[in-house]
Symmetry: C2
Subunit: 221 residues, 2 copies
C-alpha cells in the first residue's frame, strides 16, 4: 500500500501524469533499513535513487586523519540526490550515510530515474530543488566551520538535536563529530554551559535546562 501512496509524500511528484506515476510505482521497490546501518559510503555503492518515506539518514564525512564531520541530514520526504550524482558520475566519494532511525524508503532504479527526468517537468524540479537544498546546506557548513564560534555552533546543534523533549542521548564524541571538532573541546564547552545553568549532564545524556539562553547564544552568530 505504501506503493500506492508514497508519491503523495513528495512535493511536486503528486502532479506527475498518471501513466508516469503508474510506471514509477511499478518499477520502484519500498525498502526498510534498521537504525544504525550504513546505507551508502566508500565501498557500499547503491545505484538507486533513494526517497525517504520515514526516518532520517545522517550524511557524514571522514577525513584522512580519521576525524568525522556531519554534512547534513536527509529527512522523510527528501531524497539522497547528492550521493546519487556522485555515484552516477563515478566520482570518488568520501561521504557515508548512516540511518539514525529505522528507515523506510523508495528505491528508484537508474532507468526509471532517467525516464522520469525525461518525461516530467515536475520531477526535474523536484530533483533540482533537492540539489539546491543540499548545496545550501553545504555552504552553511563551510561558513560555520570556517567562521563560526564553537560555543555558538554547539548551542545551535543542541537545540536542533533535541526536538522531542529536553533530553539528548548522546556522547561528547558524537557532538564533536557533529561539528567536526575534538571531544575535549566539546567537554570544555559543555562544562561551561553547565556552570552557566544551560544544561545538566550525566554519562551519555545531556538535558537542556534553559532553551531560551541556549537559543540566545546560538543567535549570536
Amino acid at each position: 500500500m505504501a506503493d500506492a501512496v508514497w508519491i503523495e509524500r513528495f512535493h511536486g511528484l503528486s502532479s506527475l501524469p498518471a501513466p508516469v506515476k503508474a510506471q514509477l510505482v511499478a518499477e520502484s521497490a519500498v525498502i526498510k533499513v534498521p537504525a544504525g546501518k550504513t546505507v551508502f559510503g566508500p565501498g557500499a555503492v547503491p545505484d538507486n535513487l533513494l526517497f525517504l518515506l520515514d526516518g532520517r539518514v545522517r550524511v557524514q564525512q571522514t577525513s584522512e586523519s580519521g576525524r568525522d564531520i556531519v554534512l547534513y541530514r536527509v529527512e522523510a520526504g527528501e531524497s539522497c540526490v547528492l550521493t546519487t550524482a556522485c555515484l552516477l558520475a563515478h566520482e570518488p566519494y568520501s561521504a557515508e550515510g548512516v540511518t539514525e532511525t529505522d528507515v523506510t524508503a523508495v528505491a528508484i532504479p537508474r532507468g526509471a530515474f532517467d525516464r522520469l527526468m525525461a518525461s516530467s517537468q515536475e520531477f526535474r524540479d523536484f530533483v533540482l530543488t533537492a540539489y539546491a537544498r543540499r548545496i545550501t546546506d553545504l555552504f552553511r557548513v563551510i561558513d560555520d566551520v570556517a567562521f563560526g564560534r564553537i560555543d555558538v555552533r554547539l548551542a545551535g546543534r543542541l537545540l536542533s538535536l533535541a526536538t522531542d523533549g529536553d533530553d539528548l542521548a548522546t556522547t561528547h564524541q558524537q557532538l564533536a563529530t557533529e561539528l567536526g571538532t575534538a571531544r575535549e573541546v566539546i567537554s570544555r564547552v559543555l562544562h561551561d554551559f553547565q556552570k552557566r545553568g544551560f544544561v545538566a549532564q550525566s554519562r551519555g545524556k545531556i538535558t537542556l535546562l534553559d532553551r531560551d539562553q541556549i537559543a540566545k547564544l546560538a543567535e549570536s552568530a
Copy 2:
C-alpha cells in the same frame, strides 16, 4: 562562429541529436564578460545556465562577519550548475561568482535547458556530472577547513594558483580569502616560507623558489 562549434567543447554534448543541437545553438547567446565582474550573487540573479567557453570564474562566499572564502572555480568547458540550481529553487543564495579573466560563455535560457533535460540523456549526464564535480569540490573544502593545517593548505594553493610561471600576482588578503582565514595568518606563514627558502616576496607578488619543497609540504595532509 562560436555558435557553430561550442557544443564540441563540452563533454557529452557533441553526441546530442542533430535537431537538438540546432535548437540549442539557435536559442543560446554567446556573451563576453571582462575580468573582475560579478556575474552572479545576492542581488544579481541570472536565469540562464552558463557554459564557459573561455576564461575562469571564481565562486566565493561572504560570511555575516564579512570574511570571504573561495568555494571553487569554474573553468572553460564547465558550467555553473550549482548556482543555477539554487536560483531555480529560489533558495537564498549567499555565494557570488567573479570573473578572474575575460570570459566568453554560452547562456542557455531556462526553457531551452528544460527541453534539453527532457530530450537528451547526454545532456542529463553532462549536468549531473557537473553537479558531482562541484559537490566533491565542496566536500573537499569542508574537509580542508575543518581538519587541514593552514601551512599545508597554503602550500597547496600557491602551487595551484601558479600555473604559468613561478610568479604569483596576489596579496596576502587575497590568499586569506582563498583559504577562509585572516590576512595576519597568511603573512606569518609566508614569512616562515620565506625563511625556509620556499618563496620570495615583494609587494603584491610572490615567487615560488622551490616547488618541490612546497609540494612536499602540501602532500603532508
